[in-house]
């Protein structure tokens, strides 16, 4: 069998290096076409994962394992299960969207821009596929470097602050995780993540490990109160950077919860579940209200991301099939919807060079096609049935009502607050009389933008109307994980 996972990691990275080697500033067209070819090839090699995936088993599939650093018993060990497989696809797809979205928008240092995204895409796939602690850590850390440069080099006026804050925040969390990984190696003499699932640990040790892992992943998700890097990073990043940040890198944080925290320290996870649920609810409700008052569209969507990711962590820590699947579905849906929202803002920003809501008004008069697309994504962001945003949220709310009515009721406020901030922004930007001369001069979507948004819109509808294929993929892995978490490791 072909090593599809290795290909999904290395094809984009090699393509990125090729872009760097061939494309110079004078020859931007070559860089764009090679990047597009690389992104398409990167997506093509991940499609067999979807086609050949066996939904009947919770075992790791497409496994590759070979010795890498025998000194520390570190292996090049890759594999995907129902939890991680979809994110590899999502990431490869988003890379294509990002390359497409930057086509004529990025004019300076095109080759470096494209290469940074392609290399980052490979590294992210690596993090989702890695089954060795250090291999995961390698990818997890290395992906900070391209994003740091993307934000800092192509970002807005306050980009340096945002880039450094992004890097240091994430690094702090992940270095504590490194200590935790080393500790687990010391206890178990292996870096294999799957072997760690079976290592017995005392509650005290579990809680300490939980804290180390939690800090790392909670920063990445991000959960309240370690979320403050995200609005800065989103606002300053170029459109592509925001898309990848919201659609993919946040998911790695949530993925860390299900790959590391729940199975490795299940007792601590159950012991501290109230704490995580409380933080999630704060994120859902409080951050939702914070989003309401934003004057900057990107900031608003950034806060909306935090609020939606609160749903994911809430779903995970209910320890029920419905909740966990809801969380995972929400992750994928949020990948589509938040990416689409950032793309929409990018489309407007490219024309007006402003992200302030107040600078707009009446855009529908000059950009009707765009207004229709944005309407769809705004509805999906507020969780309207028949869009992907509804499925995950509904599942999590249902699961939390089963645990406690008031928990469900509090979580359900997102349906109201989310609709309020999204639609209010939509109303102020799109509807009303034409706000100013600049808006009057706007041109509607060109063909590139139309297909870019159209593709994402199809996915939003697919997942909203027929989510079963997605849920089937994750079903047995989630069931197995929950059975494992229910067993004590003490």
């Amino acid at each position: 069998m072909m090593p599809y996972l290795s290909l999904s990691i290395w094809v984009p990275i090699v393509a990125g290096l090729a872009v760097l080697a061939v494309g110079r500033d004078r020859d931007a067209a070559a860089a764009r076409w090679i990047a597009l070819a690389g992104a398409i090839a990167g997506l093509a090699v991940t499609l067999p994962l979807w086609l050949h995936f066996d939904t009947g088993t919770s075992q790791m599939q497409f496994v590759e394992r070979s010795e890498w650093i025998p000194r520390f018993d570190i292996h090049y060990h890759l594999g995907v299960d129902g939890i991680s497989m979809l994110f590899v696809l999502l990431n490869s797809l988003m890379t294509l969207v990002v390359v497409w979205s930057a086509w004529e928008v990025i004019q300076v240092r095109v080759a470096q821009y494209m290469a940074a995204f392609l290399i980052q895409s490979g590294l992210i796939n690596g993090a989702f596929c890695a089954l060795d602690g250090i291999l995961f850590y390698m990818f997890f850390e290395a992906m900070l470097i391209p994003m740091y440069i993307i934000i800092g080099a192509w970002g807005g006026p306050n980009r340096v602050y945002a880039a450094v804050k992004f890097f240091l925040y994430t690094l702090l969390g992940s270095l504590l995780m490194l200590v935790a990984l080393v500790y687990l190696y010391d206890v178990s003499e292996t870096f294999s993540i799957l072997d760690w699932y079976k290592v017995p640990l005392s509650l005290k040790v579990q809680v300490l490990l939980f804290i180390a892992f939690f800090l790392s992943f909670a920063v990445k998700v991000p959960m309240w109160p370690v979320h403050t890097w995200l609005p800065d990073a989103h606002v300053e990043a170029p459109t592509g950077g925001s898309v990848v940040l919201a659609a993919i890198t946040l998911k790695i944080g949530a993925y860390g919860f299900v790959r590391f925290i729940l199975p490795i320290v299940p007792d601590a996870a159950r012991y501290l579940s109230h704490f995580v649920i409380a933080l999630s609810l704060i994120a859902i409700v409080y951050i939702g209200f914070v989003a309401l008052v934003q004057a900057d569209m990107k900031k608003l969507i950034a806060y909306s991301s935090i609020s939606h990711m609160g749903f994911v962590t809430l779903g995970f820590f209910l320890f029920s099939q419905l909740g966990m699947e809801g969380g995972l579905v929400q992750m994928i849906s949020h990948g589509f919807v938040s990416a689409a929202m950032f793309l929409c803002v990018g489309v407007m920003y490219d024309r007006m060079h402003s992200r302030q809501i107040a600078d707009y008004g009446g855009v529908v008069n000059t950009m009707p096609k765009f207004a229709a697309f944005m309407m769809l994504f705004a509805m999906a962001n507020s969780g309207l049935p028949a869009t992907s945003g509804f499925v995950g949220e509904f599942m999590v709310i249902l699961a939390s009502v089963k645990v406690n009515f008031w928990l469900g009721a509090t979580a359900a406020t997102i349906m109201i607050v989310g609709a309020a901030y999204t639609l209010w922004m939509y109303k102020r930007v799109i509807y009303g009389a034409v706000g100013n001369d600049q808006v009057a001069a706007l041109t509607d979507l060109n063909r590139r933008e139309f297909w870019m948004l159209g593709a994402v819109a199809l996915l939003v509808f697919w997942m909203g109307l027929w989510p079963k294929p997605f849920i089937d993929v994750m079903h047995s892995s989630v069931a197995d994980l929950l059975a494992h978490v229910a067993k004590s490791k003490l």
């Binding site: 650093i69 470096q112 390698m138 740091y148 880039a163 240091l168 200590v179």
Partner: protein, 482 residues
């Protein structure tokens, strides 16, 4: 008593000494315009010494000259690496030295003598040999710093280096004399045996140990014996800074290993505590103070202090994985450090040192390749994968956790977050800022090729570290030190 085998054990040193004398004499007959003859002669000597170090590698440790020197895998590995480091240093500094009137026979000869001192230290089997090697190294370095006579900063740095270095040597010698007084021997093996049987006055031993550790900490530049490091790094011509900041760290590792781990191995519990204090202080102070620097060389000086703290952290685990981690750390640091000062010299030209942080502004616009090399250097120093610096940090953290010092590992990672800030700042200057200096980067082809290879090696060893990790384990195991 002395036989042929004894001479085989010190073949690299003999070759180096003869070669240094040959360069010294030969240089007299070479005109100013043809110094490159001396340069290439020096490189040939270095290549011969490096080759003989590998060729004479014995399968089991072998004492020579009545135990004054030992020849083992560890010694030969480190000797080889020191030769490579000095050779690279001469290649990198060729253009830089020529522009400052330092491309002279004396530079080459002193570099060779410094290397000879390192080799003697690395191969020492007795306290006397250790001390001799250390002094030969130090005196050559003092002279090299002072050689840049037209620079006030260099003269001042040489003075500081000499006065403080002499003081530290005195402290070290005093400590050695106490150990001698207590055990009755200067031979490392005999001292170790005597202590293992519980002989010797403990008070005197501990007293001596404190002096020894202080002396070692001074040579490493660990806090609170670090005061000379920033001034000397900053004041010395960059070529000499490169020499001071790289190969001697390997010798210092061997020095520490022979002195503390072998000779005073029975007192491990006592020196462990002392090293712990040194390690924590170095990591904290080095990383915090580096943030405030505006000079690249001073920043790298504080970075070296912090890095030595990390190396000590591996060493103080006092177990095999700790020693091999510390050795790997030293090698990785030397490799990274070579490239960092090499980059400064690459950007410098006549009358322009390129030693300020702001001199790196917009490097990506001037040359994406060199910006990428510097990016690798910075992330390697910060310990971010996929660079070799990550495995260095990983290995020492693993050793510390293995020895039960999880809290030390946590302190270390917290300080490295602080450290990441100033390394990121250099990346920021290169990638996010606009260039103010648009002069083309012009360097000799050989130094460009070697520097590129050096930078890529950081990445290559970061992705495939097993080879280097394996060398460290094998070197220590075959030397009977594990």
């Amino acid at each position: 008593m002395i036989n042929d085998l004894d001479f085989a054990a010190v073949l690299p040193e003999i070759l180096l000494l003869c070669g240094a004398c040959a360069v010294l004499l030969g240089d007299l007959f070479v005109g100013d315009g043809r110094r490159h003859v001396s340069f290439w002669l020096t490189q040939i000597v270095l290549a011969a010494a490096a080759w003989s170090a590998l060729a004479t590698m014995p399968p089991v440790p072998r004492g020579a000259f009545a135990g004054m020197v030992v020849d083992d895998t560890l010694a030969d590995t480190l000797k080889f690496m020191s030769c490579v480091a000095v050779s690279l240093m001469l290649f990198y500094s060729r253009g830089y030295s020529a522009a400052r009137g330092l491309f002279r026979g004396e530079t080459f000869v002193l570099a060779l003598f410094a290397l000879l001192g390192m080799m003697v230290m690395i191969a020492a089997g007795s306290f006397v040999t250790l001390y001799l090697g250390l002094e030969l190294l130090s005196l050559s370095l003092y002279a090299m710093v002072a050689m840049y006579r037209t620079s006030n900063a260099a003269t001042e740095a040489a003075m500081k280096y000499f006065v403080l270095g002499a003081l530290a040597s005195g402290i070290l010698l005093y400590g050695m004399s106490m150990i001698y007084g207590s055990t009755g021997s200067l031979d490392i093996g005999v001292v170790a045996k005597t202590l293992a049987t519980g002989q010797g006055d403990r008070t005197i031993l501990l007293f001596g140990l404190v002096f020894l550790v202080s002396g070692v900490a001074f040579k490493l530049g660990a806090v609170p014996y670090h005061m000379w490091v920033p001034d000397v790094y900053d004041g010395a011509p960059t070529a000499v800074t490169l020499l001071i900041g790289t190969a001697p760290k390997l010798a210092a590792f061997a020095f520490m290993l022979r002195l503390l781990a072998v000779a005073l191995g029975s007192l491990w519990f006592d020196w462990q505590g002392m090293l712990m204090v040194l390690a924590v202080l170095s990591m904290v102070l080095g990383n915090v103070v580096a943030i405030a620097q505006t000079s690249m060389k001073r920043m790298l000086a504080y970075s070296s202090i912090a890095n030595m703290g990390f190396m000590l952290m591996g060493f103080l685990a006092a177990n095999p994985s700790g020693y091999s981690a510390a050795m790997f750390y030293a090698i990785a640091y030397v490799l990274t450090s070579l490239a960092s000062f090499g980059m400064i010299m690459l950007l410098s030209r006549e009358g322009f040192e390129a030693d300020q942080l702001s001199d790196f502004k917009g490097l990506n616009q001037r040359s994406p390749w060199w910006a990428f090399m510097m990016l690798l250097v910075m992330f390697s120093l910060a310990g971010v994968p996929p660079t070799v610096g990550f495995y260095a940090k990983f290995a020492v953290i693993q050793a510390a956790v293995d020895a039960g010092f999880v809290w030390l590992a946590v302190v270390a990672v917290l300080t490295s977050v602080v450290g990441a800030f100033y390394y990121l700042r250099v990346v920021k200057l290169m990638y996010f800022d606009d260039a103010t200096d648009l002069a083309p980067i012009d360097a000799r082809a050989d130094s460009r090729w070697f520097l590129s290879a050096n930078g890529l090696a950081l990445l290559a060893f970061g992705i495939f570290p097993q080879q280097l990790l394996g060398i460290c384990v094998v070197a220590l195991a075959n030397s009977g030190l594990l």
